[in-house]
Symmetry: C2
Subunit: 214 residues, 2 copies
């Protein structure tokens, strides 16, 4: 893996996880020290992230972490529902046995990590992402999967801080995931779409309440 690729992965993770505050400038000298590389690979990574809307660039004034706002979250949520319900419909129509098995496996792995007390939070996030991706991956559309990845990252920037702010959840998220998986495996398109939609709308409620005061 080249340095530019490493820079892309690290920066993307750190931005999504909120290590850099929204709108804070991403100075090359700082990044160079933080990640231990020269300017060139960092600039390449920043350009990729710019195309993904995770960072913004202004001519001759460098790069900043993209702003967060309620409006942008609502927009991303709306786009996400559009993209994911369509991808889910296609996946249920097209998915084969291997796809079904991969959903079961992803859900199982997610639950293992969720129940492990004091487990690695990064690993939990990765498995959560993997589960949601597994539901859609059989849609067979590179474009929809690309949009899914973008929107997942965009909304994750809101979800993580909101979860921390909201404290203990009243929701049984594990059960929600289970119900979605059941509906998908039963090829019940309408029910799966509805459950996935509700799942995201419930998360949105938490995020909105955490975002309103800020």
């Amino acid at each position: 893996m080249t340095l530019a690729e490493k820079a892309y992965v690290s920066l993307r993770k750190d931005i999504v996880e909120g290590c850099f505050a929204p709108e804070s400038p991403l100075r090359l000298a700082d990044l160079s020290e933080r990640y231990g590389m020269g300017f060139s690979p960092l600039r390449e990574a920043l350009n990729r992230l710019q195309a993904e809307r995770l960072v913004t660039a202004e001519s001759l004034r460098g790069f900043r972490v993209s702003a967060r706002s309620l409006a942008e979250f609502e927009d991303a949520l709306h786009a996400r529902l559009l993209v994911e319900t369509e991808a889910l419909r296609l996946a249920i129509a097209r998915g084969d046995d291997g796809w079904e098995a991969s959903i079961v496996a992803a859900l199982y792995a997610l639950r293992l990590q969720a129940r492990r007390q004091g487990g690695d939070v990064d690993e939990l996030k990765a498995r959560h992402h993997a589960f949601h991706r597994s539901l859609l991956v059989a849609c067979g559309s590179d474009w929809l999967m690309d949009f899914f990845e973008r929107l997942y990252a965009a909304t994750e920037r809101y979800r993580i801080p909101a979860l921390i702010a909201a404290g203990p959840q009243k929701r049984d998220i594990d059960a929600e995931h289970g119900a979605i998986a059941d509906a998908v495996l039963a090829r019940d398109t309408r029910r799966a779409e509805e459950l996935l939609r509700d799942h995201y709308l419930r998360t949105a409620v938490t995020i909105r309440s955490g975002l309103a005061p800020a």
Copy 2:
């Protein structure tokens, strides 16, 4: 405008217009000579285009123009219909007088250029793009507009060569545009969606017939 931005604009245009054959390698030395700049701004532009799926990169083997295939075209078309019908619905629901006026203006400008014999083809393409964008811009969703721009570029890579290959059109594209604009201005969501859909599906027929032999 920085050199990297110029490189991005030029490269994007040249790739969409097919100046570089699909899958052909984009060698830095060649690009450096073609665009009259060093490697750094070119690499930054290529990284942005990679995030947009117009170029592909392989570690330590540089960049290539993304492949074209019937499957990818069908995928992009499908995603485009999903995104644009939703954006159109929102725009019709939300657009104000200024938006309506901008559609009338864009259509008028497009027709002027289309009827000008021997006019600048680049200008015609730009106005065609501007007209289609004007229909959607009132949707108020940055994400959907972002996806629109991506998918427009992706499908334009197929449309231009197909138009050349197909020769004189039997379609009255001008009338199709007019009908779409009329339906949108009448706020007839269902009809507007249907006409836009048909418009793209007709273009798709031409593209498929031009792509099948290749």
